[in-house]
Amino acid sequence: MGESPDFISDLPQSIIENILTRLSIRDAIRTSVLSSKWRYKWSTLTDLVFDEKCVSPANDRCVVETSLVRFITGVLLLHQGPIHKFQLSTSFLQCRPDIDQWLLFLSRNGIKELVLELGEGEFRVPSCLFNCLKLTRLELCHCEFDPPQYFKGFSSLKSLNLHQILVGPEVIESLISGCPLLEFLSLSYFDSLVLSISAPNLMYLYLDGEFKDIFLENTPKLVAISVSMYMHEDVTDFEQSSDYNLVKFLGGVPLLEKLVGYIYFTKYLSIGDDPGRLPITYIHLKTIELYQVSFEDANEILVLLRLVTHSPNLKELKVSASPIQLFPLEEEGFDLFERDYFDYKLPSLETVKITDVSGIRNELEFIRFLLGTSPVLETVIVSSSLIDKEAKMDMVIELLRYPRVSPRAQFLFLQD
């Protein structure tokens, strides 16, 4: 464009950075040998993402480790200006003092997003991290987290993701309370955690691990919840609470739009003294996905029914029956469905998917209930875990028999 044939070097720095950000860090730095103008164009990039692909591969693990450390140290030393995002995801680095030094450097350069996904090895997060008060996003994996006494929390933190972190439970609670702007919280791979969550701005909650007890104390803005609750062999821990867990957990989330529960989540919710009615209506709840629901347990079915009937705008329901019988119960003659449940209406339910059906009475009754209360139902997808073709046929015949309130309702039987 004009005299000089070079047509890219004179573009505004914002565009150059836009381009360089889309390259891997290695390619971005290699542009520094292109010409004299390009020498330091990369050095003001604010987002740095590192992994083992930054260095040439080698058979010897130590070689990769050393060259990766050298690379990152080199980049940080040559970098100019603030660094807003630093991501390190590699299993090659586990526990090295170099990481401490990098974090110290970052803490002095206005770091806002920090992602550290290291290999297994109990890397202890240095105290300089707790001085990074501009942090808006923190993601730690395979670390040891031990804040000093003076640490009150990250006042700007919006997203927190802790995976397999060695930390005391009271630390997590105080950390969550100390981050008033927290919107996204993910805790995974923890053992026997007892947690009370107080986060006034929290919108997305993701839990995965062995939790003994969770109390959503103050989370009025929650929009989406996903819980995978594993259980210890020691079941009695679960039975101790006298409060109804369903209310304790889902009693204070009026804005909920999506609820997903895996493994023993429904079982967990069903524990406690049942007060009879649910105090809350989930006006915004559109999707419920509860997996591994034990249809032989009346309490669990009650939880399911309660949630479904208290969500007038529910559009999609996905349920999977539990093949694992940890608590073998005799199949009670269930008159639950004969109660006034059929007076309920599910005015918005359009899609239902039920998997791992083994054909027991309660499962079929539940489907009958759905068919009889959903005027706009369109699709019912059923997949069965039965192997015996006869039994499968019987089940299908039974299901097709049930009266349907919605004229458009269709069954879809999936083969495994």
Binding site: I8, D27, V33, L34
Partner: protein
Amino acid sequence: MSEGDLAVMKPETMKSYIWLQTADGSIQQVEQEVAMFCPMICQEVIQKGVGSSKNHAISLPQRVNPAMFSLILDYCRFHQLPGRSNKERKTYDERFIRMDTKRLCELTSAADSLQLKPLVDLTSCALARIIEGKTPEEIREIFHLPDDLTEEEKLEPLKNTMDDPRIRLLNRLYAKKRKELKERERLKNVEVEEHVDERSVDDLLSFINGRDPKVVKMSKGKKKKKKKKDQKIVSSNDKESRDLHSKQQCVEETGSSMREVPNLPSAEDDISTPKAGSEDEDIDDEIDPAMRELLDREVEDFAQRLNSNWVRSLGQERRPVHFSINGNGTTRRHTGMVSIWLHLYKRFLDIL
């Protein structure tokens, strides 16, 4: 003209146009909804009220030449229709950016000056894909970049970190540690033999000097008064052995040398002094020549039997003494000392 007025005009079959003037002076009119897709034009219309007539045409920024402008208008014309699906848009975009690199750069520049972010992102993405994975020569050729860096500057830029003397030292220490570890592995296999050898040498020496083995060992602690150099070596060696001892411990525990950076200056000085055995024996003068010959041969054999590195290392500077800190530590050290001593002894004999 306010936005409200413009909106009122729309229902008519007559479309409303906006007048725009490109950098070369030519003026053209563009359909309103198409032009307003560009935030910069939108701003001009709303805030300054220009563009409604030929006389009050909006002048576009310098970077927007007519060819680029027509491309941008095509883009806007397609995307401003709300009814298009995401797939349609994506397909259009992929075909749209198929042009030579020079025009792509011009387009990026023009889109940026019109603040049309989606197009800037699209073109930047395309340019990134062009740069990705190519060698510097290829990139220079594509973009017509001048090759104006010196050869040194062209070396992988991260080598600049080598200018830091501490980092250079770190790398050398890394290399040394690695070699040491390998040596130690190798030596562990040789140790058993050496143990046997030592005894024979001790006996030999005691025989030569007419002393019993016990005294020999004790006297090894005495310093040689003759050679001042030896004394200096002795003291520095002790200190250095301690330093290196602790340093090695450090290294083995933490696997890093970063913490040793403050220690390095002192360690460097220690390393620079040539190493030698700390123990020197008072050498007797009365040795008959036959015995001396035998001794010479024994010394040679022995020196060769031990790892010859020891002998070689005396000629080099800046090599740490090999101390192992495992259970065999004392034995190893002892052996090393003896060989160094033997070498000196031999040299001394030559002088006689």
